[in-house]
């Protein structure tokens, strides 16, 4: 249930992101989902991919600062109130969210990627409420 997300430090300079996507493409690594958190000087790219270990290896070889971070993915129906319902469960259980981003898939469903300080506890309470969670194997099919 824990998804290994790839986090990459990126300087804000022209073409840097393109270099990175080029490296992933050359190594046949598919990007399932991503987000960029940025400031004026730098950004942090977060990527969900089917092969985070390989991505980590090839990016490190190219000199990027890379880190694998544990996140969880909540799969929801793409309809009003779904995200609110999921977040309410986490809030009610005292689980704070460091950051999150979401993406929609083709089957009318959406996935929220969530980084929390206690992913195991989050999985527990979400499962208790019969929420569907993204599995590592699913990442290939997104």
């Amino acid at each position: 249930m824990i998804i290994r997300q790839l986090s990459v430090f990126l300087e804000n300079r022209a073409g840097r992101l393109t270099e990175l996507t080029g490296i992933l493409a050359d190594n046949d690594i598919n990007i399932s989902a991503f987000s960029i958190a940025d400031t004026t000087d730098f950004g942090v790219l977060r990527v969900i991919t089917g092969n985070p270990e390989l991505a980590e290896k090839v990016l490190k070889e190219q000199g990027f600062a890379v880190k694998i971070t544990d996140v969880i993915g909540i799969v929801m129906h793409n309809k009003p109130g779904a995200l609110h319902h999921a977040l309410q469960i986490l809030t009610d259980n005292g689980i704070s969210i460091e950051y999150m981003y979401a993406f929609a898939s083709s089957d009318d469903r959406a996935t929220a990627v969530i980084r929390t300080d206690s992913p195991k506890k989050a999985i527990e309470v979400l499962q208790l409420h019969e929420m569907e969670l993204l599995k590592t194997g699913d990442v290939y099919q997104i």
């Binding site: 997300q5 986090s7 430090f9 990126l10 300087e11 400031t39 730098f42 942090v44 000199g63 890379v66």
Partner: protein
């Protein structure tokens, strides 16, 4: 233990008087015996009679390495050649080397200050001292050699290099002290590990290391590898060689043998004398040297002096490990900034490594300082607020140390150019405009 308690623990008032007397005598000697100095002094309207006490030191002009080169080889000697018993020379990294001469008394004085230094490291006549500094034109080998002999220790004049032989003698002779460069000490330590020597046969208890910059990290490493206590010795051939200053067992800076070498700290730009505790360029006046006295010689080394009496009982001022060279100084908004200060901040923080670049620019007639710091893989957090926090911590530490606002930009690892030797640490865009 103190080799020369009279001079090393002298009341500071008495010491000041002694320095004043010796300074007066020294100015007279150079005025009458060295045409270069006489001209310099006359240009400033100074006659020997004008220098009466230590207070008058600040009236004297400075001497630089360039002056030594311009007077190559013997132009600054204050005695006839037949009184010179030894010549050493430093291999200049740029241009001509500089030559230093010693009279018999100079050699005696040098042996005395080295004897004091070795005694600080606990070395006595019962010790076996392996001198692995180079013997030759370089002052390291012979300097330590004479001091160790003066103490009455057994001296092994093995000189530098020949690691196999060094290790063999460490074992066979049971050397209890070694003198060499810190990098060679670390190398020897690693060789002991590799050769799997019987550590119980290594009897080393003290190491006297100098002649190149080294860090506290290296000290820990060497002490671990060689099983000894590592002491820092400072010197430069122009002044005498090793033994200008030395760490006592308290290791709170190196005591300068002020009865022979008068230290000052100056602002490298304005040449104004700075108070104790302030970072600046170290300047020496040698008041007892006969063959080649130096008047306010600018070492270009940056350090601070501390005058409080040390726990060891010595009243001699202590100098900190040098943090860099004044040639590297930048003036930003009127504040003196040394790249080595940035380095020290980054080294002190556990989450950064000293890979940095200073970018100085001018915006709306105001100087700006940006410091680029590489994000270290192991400290990289994927949370922006953590990275922002790191950035602010570095900036805060730098700003408080430099006394000038320094903005910090985090950059990707490996993007700051590494070069052999002195890394390119500064981009000063102000000059381009």
């Amino acid at each position: 233990m103190i080799w020369n308690e009279h001079h090393e623990c002298m009341d500071r008032q008495q010491l000041t008087e002694l320095q004043g007397e010796r300074l007066r005598d020294m100015v007279e000697r150079i005025y009458f015996n060295v045409p270069f100095y006489r001209t310099r002094l006359q240009e400033m309207g100074i006659e020997p009679g004008d220098i009466r006490s230590l207070d008058d030191l600040k009236k004297l002009p400075f001497t630089t390495k360039q002056d030594l080169r311009d007077n190559y080889p013997f132009g600054l000697f204050a005695v006839p050649q037949h009184d010179v018993v030894r010549l050493h020379a430093s291999s200049g990294t740029t241009g001509k080397s500089t030559v230093v001469g010693y009279t018999h008394n100079d050699i005696m004085m040098w042996s005395e200050v080295v004897a004091r230094s070795l005694t600080m490291a606990g070395i006595t006549r019962d010790d076996i001292v392996q001198v692995a500094y180079g013997y030759g034109l370089f002052t390291g080998g012979l300097g330590v050699h004479y001091g160790a002999e003066k103490i009455g220790a057994s001296v092994i004049p093995i000189s530098g290099g020949n690691t196999k032989k060094q290790l063999q003698l460490l074992e066979d002779f049971g050397s209890t002290a070694i003198a060499c460069t810190p990098s060679y000490a670390a190398y020897l330590g690693e060789a002991i590990m590799e050769e799997k020597l019987d550590r119980s046969k290594i009897k080393l208890k003290a190491g006297i290391f100098g002649a190149e910059p080294w860090t506290e990290e290296m000290r820990t490493q060497i002490q671990h590898l060689l099983g000894l206590k590592a002491y820092d010795i400072y010197g430069l051939s122009e002044v005498i060689g090793p033994g200008v200053s030395m760490e006592c067992a308290c290791q709170r800076g190196m005591h300068i043998f002020e009865d022979h070498f008068i230290p000052e700290i100056i602002d490298p730009e304005t040449c104004e004398v700075l108070p104790y505790g302030t970072l600046g360029e170290l300047v020496f006046t040698t008041v007892t040297k006969e063959a080649m006295p130096l008047m306010r010689y600018r070492t270009r080394d940056l350090t601070r002096l501390h005058a409080e009496t040390c726990d060891c009982g010595r009243t001699l001022v202590r100098m900190e490990k040098c943090v860099g060279r004044s040639d590297d100084m930048l003036i930003i908004r009127g504040v003196n900034v040394f790249p080595s200060q940035v380095e020290s901040v980054l080294l002190e923080m556990s989450e950064t490594k000293p890979h940095y670049l200073l970018v100085v620019d001018r915006e709306n007639n105001l100087d700006t300082l940006e410091i680029q710091v590489e994000v270290e893989e192991q400290f990289f957090s994927d949370e922006v607020k953590e990275l922002e926090g790191l950035r602010k911590r570095i900036s805060g530490n730098l700003t408080s140390l430099l006394g000038l606002h320094a903005s910090v930009r985090l950059v990707e690892p490996g993007t700051i150019e590494r070069s052999m030797g002195k890394a390119q640490r500064v981009v000063d865009k102000r000059k381009l405009k």
